[in-house]
Amino acid sequence: MEERLTRLESLNIDRETIISIAFFAGKILFIFGLLFGFIAPMMVWVERRVCGLIQDRYGPNRVGPFGLLQTMADGIKLLLKEDLRPTEVHPGFFILAPILAVIPAAMGFAAIPFGPETTLGGILREPQRLQIANLNVGFLYVLAIGSLGVYSVALAGWASNNKYTVLGALRASAQMISYELAAGLSIVTVVILSGSVDLVKIVESQKSVWNIFPGFLAFLVFLPAIFAETNRTPFDLAESEAELVAGFHTEYSGMKFGLFFLAEYVNMATVSAMAVLLFFGGWELLPWLPWAKTGLNMDTLWFLPTIWFFVKLAFFLFFFVWIRWTVPRFRYDQLMALGWKTLIPISLFNMAATTTILVFQKMP
């Protein structure tokens, strides 16, 4: 290693450049490895085990210890299945839809920071952000990429050329545009509270008090909105098995179906990360106790905030599963009424109220 470094130095590439490139590549590998290699497979297992727990039965426990290898077995099954394509589908869009589901899901996490600015215990010369892409538009990027997920659902439903899938796609697209609005408005309240659109700065502004306390109403709107955005129960009207025979992915099988599944779990991770960053103090330890006040040497223990961030994220992922197996599905008109008549007025009112209070506080 040392020898190679000196050889590279002779090529007029100094060590700093190599380290910064390695740091950048490491961040990308870490995030994508974690999302696609750990969180998504683990969530498939967790979902079924928690389901078993809640319904008072075992869940998968045959493959590997505690059934941990079940996901791998499922993956192999999906890959080896025959790649069915019904005769009446639109061939191009039928293949494009699952791809369009995975790409935005993978892109969304790129702008999410997962730790404070750090030198990695002195390896880097200057503190750097633990974030793949540092964009000055911050959370808007995550929101923009998240809004593209609807195309995969719409295209899958349309290309399958089946009444049930078209109905599922119609429901999903109407639902996703409606709840995007509520989610966006509640995030605006957080931005007003924190005074920045940059996610790292939003977390830094929560050192003394987490946004969940002044922005509780915003969180109440944000939570159902993210459930609806990711098409999870109680808002999984797009794929309600009983009425629509799994909705937009009725005609999909094999790995194409697997890709929809993968995208759903990665999207869940992204919105959970957003919830943690915006309302629950990101990587800060406790509402009244940030890492800086613990007395620990954060230069050497730089990885603790990151681990804590992912612990919070894991709690939210568990919360998603918990809700799924506890709350029954909404009826479609109830869903639209909740979105347009309750959540959006509440978030608009909340935004106006927060602004007014902040203006009066800042008055001399």
């Binding site: 964009l135 538009v137 923009a144 295209l155 796609a169 697209s173 996703m176 008109d333």
Partner: protein, 181 residues
């Protein structure tokens, strides 16, 4: 040629090609999908131009909201080719005249003002151009009237659409869209 120029030419070529596909693919679904790709490439161009916020809004509003509405209506109608009608191809002459006229205007501009062909000055270091802060400051100070008018236009559009979509429902059993038991 520099890197940024090469990237610009690649983006421009792709924008033009996808624009052509948008305009001339027979089925509206295909047009809409190419238009989404076109908007993405345009957002990329805006990033090259340094207007990051505009680029994100391009994806969020154009690709993420307006085009979803289009795709939604296309799904809702679920048309077969018979219901789309055939496209006319007779207006080539007028089209060429139109393009020639606009090209003439652009070319005359070139002749009269040669500084148009100079390279754009680079963005000054430390400039806030294209950030959310700079844009919102301008929006809420110099252009506050335009901003308010945009709100009024949106409100009018909502009212108009509501009026267009309104239908009297004669069945007294149906209240709020769901049937009374």
């Amino acid at each position: 040629m520099e890197n940024s120029q090469i990237v610009f030419f690649i983006f421009s070529a792709l924008i033009l090609v996808t624009a052509g596909l948008v305009a001339f693919r027979p089925r509206p679904v295909e047009s809409a999908m190419w238009l989404i790709l076109n908007f993405f490439l345009t957002a990329g161009l805006y990033v090259l131009l340094g207007s990051h916020f505009v680029a994100v809004i391009q994806v969020l509003v154009y690709a993420g909201a307006i085009m979803v509405l289009f795709v939604f209506v296309i799904l809702l109608l679920n048309l077969d080719p018979r219901e789309l009608g055939t496209d006319s191809s007779v207006s080539w002459g007028s089209l060429i005249l139109f393009v020639a006229f606009l090209s003439f205007i652009l070319l005359s501009l070139h002749v009269t003002t040669p500084e148009l062909l100079e390279k754009m000055p680079p963005i000054k270091a430390g400039s806030t151009f294209g950030t959310v802060e700079a844009l919102s400051k301008t929006l809420l100070t110099d252009y506050i009237f335009g901003f308010e008018m945009a709100g009024v236009i949106l409100l009018l559009a909502i009212m108009g659409v509501g009026l267009l979509a309104y239908r009297k429902i004669n069945n007294p059993r149906i209240v709020n869209g769901s049937e009374r038991p």
